[in-house]
Symmetry: C2
Subunit: 333 residues, 2 copies
């Protein structure tokens, strides 16, 4: 299918630009999924055509991300913000405690939501460590802790691998410790090689790198699932989702389908390592320019926490900012 639409470069902090082959495949499958005569939106989630999609998506993700049989992959409704509430609902039993490590606003939101849920469940969600600091006239996040603190007896410790707003990323991810590790990987999932065996629970809103919004991808260790609370609604019960292969109720079938297309594209590119190499190269080029022109650009994030996904910089003054935005628009960025 050829289209001559004018496609702009997308540098927004919101959803990522999606691969053209994945979009073009979707144009076809909207009317006729894999030659079935029925469009992808119209297939039952319990029918063979969608099942094939689901099986392929799971298999591709396992293969590309190196996710072993120790972990379940779940495709759930909502985005990362939904997981902010679902995780403590499922894993904070009465009287239990969880610790939150904050390196940006998404971690703050996760903790706030966990505190509300903890109250409902008569449990505790606690601030374990925050890298928030005063820089100039405001409070901001500029770094990641050298080592993730442990928290003895805790249900889990939660952190955010990449913070979009502040451009702060754990360039080196923490290793497994005695406390189960939960990671919000929304904005760098599939962008880098990750050893998932270190994590008990990883979640990502799909709209950054994997597909459309409205889908959360969860990678959860089977042994962690066994620790889940049982008295919670079925729709938010990860064990039910695992038993029913993410089909307890009608999932966001289009989002799962589109994720499959993106995974096929990643495979064709040479896998996640190839995607990472490209991301690293792009980020290095941008930081090089920013560092070379300190008279114009200010970058304050510590070098060992500079995000490969969201390069955050400030311009010296508003007049320069205006010129910058105008030139970017003229260049179709």
């Amino acid at each position: 299918m050829q289209r001559m639409a004018k496609r702009l470069m997308n540098f927004g902090a919101g959803p990522g630009a999606l691969p053209l082959p994945a979009l073009e495949q979707a144009q076809i499958d909207l009317l006729d999924l894999d030659g079935t005569g029925v469009g992808v939106l119209e297939h039952s989630h319990r029918g063979p055509a969608f099942d094939k999609v689901l099986v392929e998506t799971d298999a591709l993700l396992r293969e590309l991300a190196g996710i072993g049989d120790t972990h379940e992959i779940l495709f759930l409704h909502g985005g990362a913000s939904t997981q902010f509430a679902e995780i403590p609902l499922a894993f904070l039993k009465e009287g239990a405690r969880a610790g939150y490590v904050l390196t940006g606003v998404w971690g703050e939101k996760a903790l706030a939501e966990a505190k509300t849920v903890a109250k409902l469940k008569r449990a505790e969600a606690e601030l374990l460590l925050s890298t928030k600091e005063r820089a100039g006239d405001k409070e901001t996040f500029l770094r990641v802790p050298e080592k993730l603190p442990t928290m003895e007896g805790a249900a889990y410790v939660h952190f955010t691998s990449n913070e979009t707003v502040h451009g702060v990323q754990f360039l080196e991810l923490p290793k497994a410790s005695a406390t189960p590790l939960v990671c919000d990987m929304s904005s760098d999932f599939l962008s880098r090689v990750v050893d998932f065996s270190n994590f008990d629970f990883v979640y990502a809103g799909a709209q950054k790198n994997a597909g459309p919004s409205g889908l959360a991808i969860v990678v959860v260790k089977k042994s962690f699932l066994e620790k889940q609370d049982v008295g919670i609604p079925k729709i938010w019960d990860y064990r039910v989702a695992a038993e029913q292969r993410s089909l307890y109720n009608t999932p966001s079938t289009f989002s799962i389908y589109f994720t499959r297309n993106v995974l096929r594209w990643i495979e064709a590119k040479g896998g996640i390592a190839a995607v990472q190499a490209e991301n690293d190269k792009k980020a290095a080029m941008i930081y090089e320019v920013l560092d070379a022109r300190k008279d114009v650009y200010t970058t304050r994030v510590a070098k060992n926490a500079r995000s490969r996904m969201n390069v955050v910089f400030e311009l010296e003054n508003e007049a320069i900012e205006k010129v910058f935005l105008e030139k970017a628009k003229a260049a179709d960025l």
Copy 2:
């Protein structure tokens, strides 16, 4: 965009067949939404292009369904099953009671989930009335109550307007009473003219008549919203969703966008009354055939509860069923 794909007729109990113009528009907008140079999946939910989509979807739905300023329209993650848990979480305060009227399996699922949530919130979700009855060798649902029972002092009374599995529908919808009325309208939303002023809370999984799966459309009375519990997670707080125009977190933008396309198609057809007339005519034709051949087909649902959306009948024996399914397949149904 012309396509010669072979499109089958879809009589499945799952997602409905979608209007071709809505699908063809989506093919274009996947790459370039409304001439913006960026595809619908790639636009930020906070940008002007998606905002236009959201505003149009809300306005079209209000106009076509006759929803007044007394009610908010919300576009939420998940489907009806997510609402089964979210409604009691939000509207059952500690010590409060809600009543459930069951006319099929979806009502049963809603009650089961509400009971789990009620326990968490130290409240009560109660079976108020069930039309389950023994017919032959099994228990089934064949009718709707003549009048919806009231429940003094209850937070709400919940019922299901159309039960897909048993083909039982409230052909005449209940009127408002002293107890707030909550209705799961998943499978007949947009299929019939409804006086929304009778309801405090209506919800529908979009995938039956409005669009893709992964979206729940909620129509909630503002005065009912004010009664909501406050100590619940923000992601499930209907007041937050209303204040933030369904943009508290990234919504399922594609599902909202596609619902817009479907609403445009309904408008072009002459509105919901025209859709209803067509549905009624189709259903009447099918029931006429079934009634005329009682030697082959058995329909057990009471005539005043026969669903216009899901015609349920039994065939006399398995041999006939096999022939029926083979002939249907040969006819591309």
